[in-house]
Each structure stands twice: as structure tokens, then as C-alpha cells.
């Protein structure tokens, strides 16, 4: 085979392959994150945390809670949401650490077992003292997703479409702010948290 023909075939092959990936790429639209002021009571729920321990939401009464919905093999919005929560946690003062709690609730309990969630949290540098990663059985999670208004649709093993919600819950257990979008601004979340902490 001569060099010219080889180079043509290689270029054609690479072009076809490039189109192939683009055709199936799970593109994230660069949408602005929408911030909504809401008042939605959150019902008590019990799930399982990254240590396989029972986690009762009611025990967070009196604290401001930031809740995000994500799953560990998510290829698009979740890494940005979890990175934002990490920024929120590192932006809290020592005093605020005692008054604020972070929750990441999975949308894929099939894959996200407690050990998987623990490794996920460690990779993001989460301080588990005030950040828990929750899973549970499908029925319990579905009640939580519904209460928060999160739609979840399984597309394949480890591949789930879900509402990219990050919510801020006040000390009385009511959702007061809902960020819907791929990359919530950590500074804006911190402002909301501090607003709800203020007497």
C-alpha cells in the first residue's frame, strides 16, 4: 500500500470515528442554573449513609441543609454539582460547620451502594462530619425524589437521567431555594445558607 493511499484511509477512518462519538455524546447544554425561591415542606425520611448506617433526616432539625441529587457514574451534571457542594463545605466557617449539613442523595441505588458512595465522597475530599451520601431501597428513594420534585429515569446500567436539583432547606425542614441546572454557584448557595442561618 502506498503512503498516499494509507494516509487517505487513516484520515477517512479518523473522520468517521470522530463523527461516531459526536453522534452519541451526551452533550451538556450550557444553560444558566435557575434559582427558584420556594416553600416546600420536606417529609421525614430514613435512608442509608456511606457507612451503611441508618440516616434519619429528622435528626437534622435546627440545621440548614444543602441537598443535591446525583449518582456516582454520572457523566455530565453530577461532577459539577458535587464539586460545587465541596466548595460550599470548604467555604463554611468552623461555627457554620456545626449549623449546616450537606446531603448527596443518589438517583441510582442499583450501583450506588454505601461503599461506592464512600469512595465517591473521598475522591471529592468530602468531610463526612457534616456531609453524608445517601442511598436506600428504591421505594424509599422514590418517595424522597418525589417530595423534592426530582424526576429520575434509568437509561441503562449506571446511566440515569435526573433533574439536576440542588436545594437549600431551612432550620424548620422546608425547602426554601431550588437550584436547577448543571453547575450551581457555590458562592450563591453560601449566601442562601447564611441568609437562612441569620436570626
Amino acid at each position: 500500500m502506498n503512503l498516499g493511499l494509507t494516509s487517505c484511509l487513516v484520515v477517512i477512518a479518523l473522520s468517521i470515528n470522530s463523527v461516531g462519538v459526536q453522534a452519541v455524546a451526551h452533550e451538556v447544554q450550557k444553560k444558566t442554573v435557575e434559582r427558584r425561591a420556594v416553600v416546600i415542606p420536606i417529609d421525614a425520611f430514613t435512608l442509608v449513609d456511606q457507612n451503611s448506617s441508618e440516616f434519619q433526616f429528622s435528626k437534622l432539625a435546627g440545621r440548614v441543609v444543602v441537598v443535591a441529587f446525583a449518582y456516582t457514574t454520572c457523566p455530565d451534571v453530577c461532577p459539577l454539582i458535587t464539586a460545587a457542594l465541596r466548595q460550599v463545605q470548604s467555604g463554611l466557617t468552623t461555627d457554620e460547620h456545626k449549623k449546616v449539613f450537606l446531603l448527596t442523595i443518589t438517583t441510582d441505588p442499583e450501583i450506588d451502594l454505601p461503599k461506592v458512595l464512600a469512595n465517591y465522597g473521598k475522591r471529592y475530599g468530602a468531610d463526612f462530619a457534616n456531609w453524608s451520601f445517601l442511598t436506600g431501597d428504591q421505594a424509599a428513594l422514590q418517595r424522597v425524589w418525589k417530595n423534592f420534585g426530582v424526576g429520575v429515569k434509568r437509561k441503562g446500567r449506571g446511566l440515569v437521567d435526573h433533574t439536576p436539583l440542588t436545594a437549600v432547606i431551612d432550620r424548620q425542614g422546608k425547602m426554601r431555594v431550588a437550584y436547577v441546572g448543571p453547575a450551581p454557584d457555590a458562592k450563591a448557595i453560601l449566601r442562601d445558607v447564611r441568609g437562612l442561618l441569620a436570626p
Partner: protein, 142 residues
């Protein structure tokens, strides 16, 4: 070159370089990897700039990694990169290993392709997983 020499060279080459791309690899890579790593593996996916640590350009990093090192990162994750075990089956993780290898050498000069592409194409036309009995059982429906 004798026939046995050709087969041995083909196998060694394929082990070192991996096979070319196929539709299954493109599908998995497109669904799970391209948003961060980019369609060409240059670290320029649609969300790359927003990640805490930018993804690498495979051409600059993969050549220095062993297959087991790459497989471990795909399976266990690293930083913001998801751990794809157990969401992906072992054969799918191997597909992604090959894809990463493939994308890392897209910048290879034409002399390399001129020398080896026929052998790689011949090797990759053989259904090795089936021949070696490594096919996955079909996924169980919940």
C-alpha cells in the same frame, strides 16, 4: 515473515496497541467519557472547563501508563472521574482501555500506520472475546 511469526507479531502488536475503534466503544465513550475528555480525548469536553481538575490530553499521558494503571483509573475513578466498576462490565472497561489507547495514538506519524495498520486490522477482525470464551452473559432485566 513466516505465518507463525506474523500471528505472533500481530498478537504482540495488538496487545501493545489495542484494536481500532468499533461502534460499541464509540457508544460507551460518547455516553460516559466524551463530556469531560472530549470526542478526541484531548481533555476538551463540554464540561471540562468547569471541573475541579481539567482532564488530561490522552496523547500526553496515556503513552506513559501501563494497561493495568489505565484499567484501574477507569474502574476505580480518580478525583472527579467516576469509578466505572461495577456500572461497566469488565469487557466494557477493556473497550474503554482500548479506546483510550486508540485516542492517545491518533497523533502517531504515518510511518507507524504504514508499518502496522494491516496487522492491526487483521488482528482486530478476529472476534477474540468470542473465540476465547470471554463474552459477557446478557444483562439481567430488573
Amino acid at each position: 515473515m513466516t505465518l507463525s511469526g506474523l500471528i505472533t507479531t500481530s498478537l504482540l502488536l495488538a496487545l501493545a496497541a489495542g484494536c481500532g475503534r468499533n461502534e460499541r466503544m464509540d457508544l460507551i465513550y460518547g455516553q460516559r467519557c466524551a463530556n469531560c475528555h472530549g470526542t478526541g480525548g484531548r481533555g476538551d469536553g463540554s464540561i471540562a472547563a468547569s471541573l475541579p481538575t481539567p482532564p488530561p490530553d490522552f496523547r500526553e499521558t496515556v503513552q506513559r501508563k501501563s494497561n493495568s494503571q489505565i484499567r484501574r483509573v477507569i474502574a476505580e475513578g480518580k478525583g472527579a472521574m467516576p469509578a466505572f466498576d461495577p456500572a461497566l462490565r469488565p469487557s466494557e472497561i477493556n473497550d474503554m482501555l482500548q479506546m483510550v489507547r486508540y485516542l492517545s495514538r491518533e497523533g502517531r506519524d504515518l510511518a507507524w500506520w504504514e508499518k502496522y495498520d494491516t496487522l492491526i486490522a487483521a488482528h482486530c477482525s478476529i472476534p477474540w472475546e468470542s473465540a476465547l470464551g470471554l463474552d459477557d452473559a446478557p444483562e439481567k432485566k430488573p
